[in-house]
Symmetry: D2
Subunit: 331 residues, 4 copies
């Protein structure tokens, strides 16, 4: 069996959530340090992605470092909250220059923190940058603001990487970076080497992409800097536990990564609204290990031959053979 | 010109919102009395639908009545909050009997309040009753719990009507009453006369129904007790301002209501996350008045002839002529 | 291991296809007798569903019977072609009474043939009955025509069953029987005992239903007369080989059937446009046998306990354990 | 009033169709010359896009030229049929080198014909180039074949333009050029100046794009060579008559073209399966003229101000005022 990948999670996996209906939350608030301890309790996680500012946290950075350390966790990334109250009509594309400046300041701050914590990258998720209604914005102008801001930000921090996590929609009805190809265009136009893509499997899936194909496109462009996994019903970002629905396509996604020698973190971006968050992570990792084992079992040569003929049936046969016995040793 | 309909709105139209990202809200909290005053400020609203419990409100029922009165508003309905923190795994279908009992108590309480306020109906929206994952529930059991609870609740309050507002999903990935036909089956099985449907145009649209057809189905069953309007991009309950996207289908929906002599409230269920809520309601009503005017202008006889032949082109011609001149007097 | 189910297929599985682009077909035409021989060549099929009229076939009924016999196949159903050239604006809901009469004549003819061949049922698929454009039809009238025709047809043939195969759309943009609940309402209104539902897994999936839940609803109404399986990407009736994408939900579907003691045919409705049709059927049955084996392996008691708590994680764990080792014996 | 645009249509608008169910067609076959005569009968069409080979036509090129001439029509484009029987597993990405060579030969032939007829461009629609099943193809290899073929083809015909018409799916479950951004990446990688995009409004809509935004992206890249319009229900390429459903977004699309000074043909790509094709084109052009008139009426300055603030309500107000009076007699 090949060596296991590094597993990670967004720290928000261990938070509780609100939505527009359950405004008082899906559980009691969980503080940042407690979230980190829960991440540690999963047992298989090595890295976490941290939001900045530390939401509702009044401790010190040293407290955070200590919590990470006692749980043998490393901060792999910082995700600045450019989608909260101050940025409801956008961060770097906000119509108000003062808000744009404020967003950029926060992004710079996040970059500094990421360097301080030895992170691999700063994650940019522009959830509020986009539009809701037809005719609401001038698309040319919004796009230019976004590309210019990316260039300015990334140029100022050449020592660290940045990734754009694209997503078709939510919370905005339309987000400016909805899919891999569009995001690659923005990265090209920004013209900075330290900017890449974080491909979220679920975003790709409900954005009408074939996630494995999107991954290949990013890899071929040298821009697949990171990935997140989860699952959904293909119409929305349900952020379900990975392996709940799309077993075959998840398998294909990781197969594509392996074929290309991609060796980054297998990272969870799940929202267990009504589930125990530690158990949800454990369940996910159990499944990911089964995928990993199925990758070992897959007959790569025969699959390559099937694919050379675009032979769907031969490929499916090989895939099912590997996947449907991937937990055999556990029975 | 025929007389204008009665316009109404869910009082939450005038609240501010949170979601899972903008956890601190899309604006400063607006108290209940202020919400009522804003509803009054719209100018064309005659009725509102009130949530119960009055969220974050520490005044008295008399305060609420006074606020309604000074704004010449009537409470047309009470919507009990059976989808908040206490009910995240369901209200009347919760696996825990104690939670089910609590939900029923709240529903009874809401029915009493509705009677006290002279409402037309209690609105039942089972947003947390459903499932998120394959294999999560026993569908037979969940359905039976729902139907039994409906029967018990409605039987206990024969003096007032109840309506089920169906919705395909959100917040649960799947909701037990996802469309008109399924809800009609539940109503039949409950076997109570005072239970009907509130058809939300947007829910119907993104649930793959043709809203006008769903309305006709409910009308033919004698069960179209109320309606809500809004708009979306057909993949989610965006709750946009009515008339933003689906002009023709909104027109068809109201045409079907008029053809059947349905004369209920034209009610707004919009979530203007980033918009001024009074302006959003005004814009909606301006559009609805144009629809109303287009209904007057539509050549019903010629349309009936076209429909008798299933002649889409002839029908469209008549529809565009009426709709695309419905705001001409304002030019 | 429990006994294997009876496997079947629509005979069109072994035809070649055209679509609006590949108007000359995806392969050379395959005659009816050859289709039957190919069904026989699969090895695991016991029954087939036959279209009527026998498309492009100039032999006799005896030829067909002989072909079935030599392949040890039985005709389980007749599917009358009420969706071909003569019925492009509908069969029993066509605006033209002459076309409606013609459709009814064909349906009666199909019923006689079904009796003659000892079929279990006549399958009614109203693919052209519906609408394409807003305002095209009067929904009340179309629905009434459909229900009246069902009543007349089924009443005239009490010795044989009829099933409606519902489908959200295609070829009409909207079909009159789009989902299980709506179809059950029609069956109720028709008021005939020998009319039930054929639930096509793929139709249910892309129609926003949870197929297992739809099956339970039909079973509870005593109306699940037959099923078809295939797979798709949830946005269209792709009619892919079963098990290509939705392994977990297919498993759940069959689990629901077993839990309810449903023992009908496991029938394929696949369109292998570009694949070898015999291989496509074999691949499907290999997968279905794995599902069957996983059903045996599933811990029903533990699953029931998980479901009693709506415990998604516990349920998923059991499901993956059974499913992901379902091909272990082949490794 | 500003001058009217040039109107055009794909010649297939005037054909009859088959699909996988109505295999004998939705009407009697219509020959190529008759199709051209029908295009002429519309009255407002100036150009047509012709398929190559001329399907089922045994006349001469001179006959075609004469038919065009007598109807005062010009061939604006040639669309080679690289999606028919010979190419069911792809044209330039087919796994068989012999098929790829054959496809390229046909494409070259089409380019010669286009030059001969004085067309503006050759339209490339790769409907069969893609995949249907997970794991069916090696995405890297398929993409490379496509880009290499584009480069070779376009380089060989520098005197004429080529356009890629992207589409998310159908007939393949996934097509290699599914959206504007991905297609722009292919164009970049091909590195040829005479290759651009034909943006089909309906493809963009059901591919989750905002068509106006996609148009702006292509324009900013200097690559919006042509457009097609039609309408759909956002889940499939229904190819309905333009203006049937998405009035506002169609208006926004043309507004974006005008704002950028784009002055190409307003071209119809409709499939009136069950409608009179001449009437369907007339209805479409009547609507497009209303859009054109609404563009004249729209207060561009006020709209720009609203958009500078991302003010959806203000923008909608202006839009409705112009659009909902665009067919008033007095305008």
């Amino acid at each position: 069996m090949s060596h296991l990948p590094v597993f990670g999670a967004g720290i928000w996996h261990f938070a509780t959530y609100v939505d527009r209906y359950a405004t008082e939350g899906y559980g009691e608030p969980v503080g940042l340090l407690e979230q980190i301890d829960q991440a540690g309790a999963v047992g298989d996680l090595s890295v976490v992605d941290l939001n900045w500012p530390f939401a509702g946290f009044d401790g010190t950075l040293e407290d955070v470092k200590a919590a990470l350390s006692r749980n043998r966790l490393r901060a792999v990334a910082i995700t600045p909250e450019i989608y909260n109250k101050d940025y409801i009509k956008g961060s770097v594309t906000n119509p108000d220059p003062a808000v744009r400046a404020k967003a950029l300041a926060l992004l710079n701050e996040a970059a500094e923190l990421a360097k301080e914590l030895g992170c691999d990258y700063v994650k940019l998720w522009f959830g509020q940058d986009g539009w809701d209604y037809p005719f609401q914005v001038n698309y040319h102008d919004v796009w230019k603001l976004a590309v210019d801001a990316l260039r300015e930000l990334c140029s100022a921090h050449s020592q660290i990487d940045f990734v754009i996590e694209y997503k078709p929609r939510e919370p905005r009805n339309k987000i400016i970076f909805p899919n891999a190809a569009r995001t690659l265009l923005a990265i090209q136009q920004a013209g900075v080497a330290n900017l890449g893509i974080l491909l979220d499997f679920g975003h790709s899936l409900y954005g009408l992409e074939t996630p494995a194909d999107a991954a290949q496109l990013c890899i071929d462009a040298g821009k697949l800097f990171a990935i997140d996994v989860n699952d959904n019903f293909r119409g929305w970002d349900d952020d379900m536990v990975v392996g709940s629905v799309h077993l075959v396509e998840t398998f294909e996604f990781f197969h594509t990564l392996r074929r290309n020698g991609w060796e980054g973190v297998w990272q969870l971006d799940q929202f267990p609204f009504r589930e125990d968050s530690v158990q949800a992570a454990k369940q996910a990792i159990t499944f990911l290990k089964a995928i990993h084992s199925a990758l070992d079992a897959l007959d790569d040569e025969a699959l390559a031959a099937a694919q050379a003929n675009h032979d769907a049936l031969a490929a499916q046969k090989l895939v099912q053979k590997a996947l449907l016995s991937s937990m055999a040793e556990d029975v």
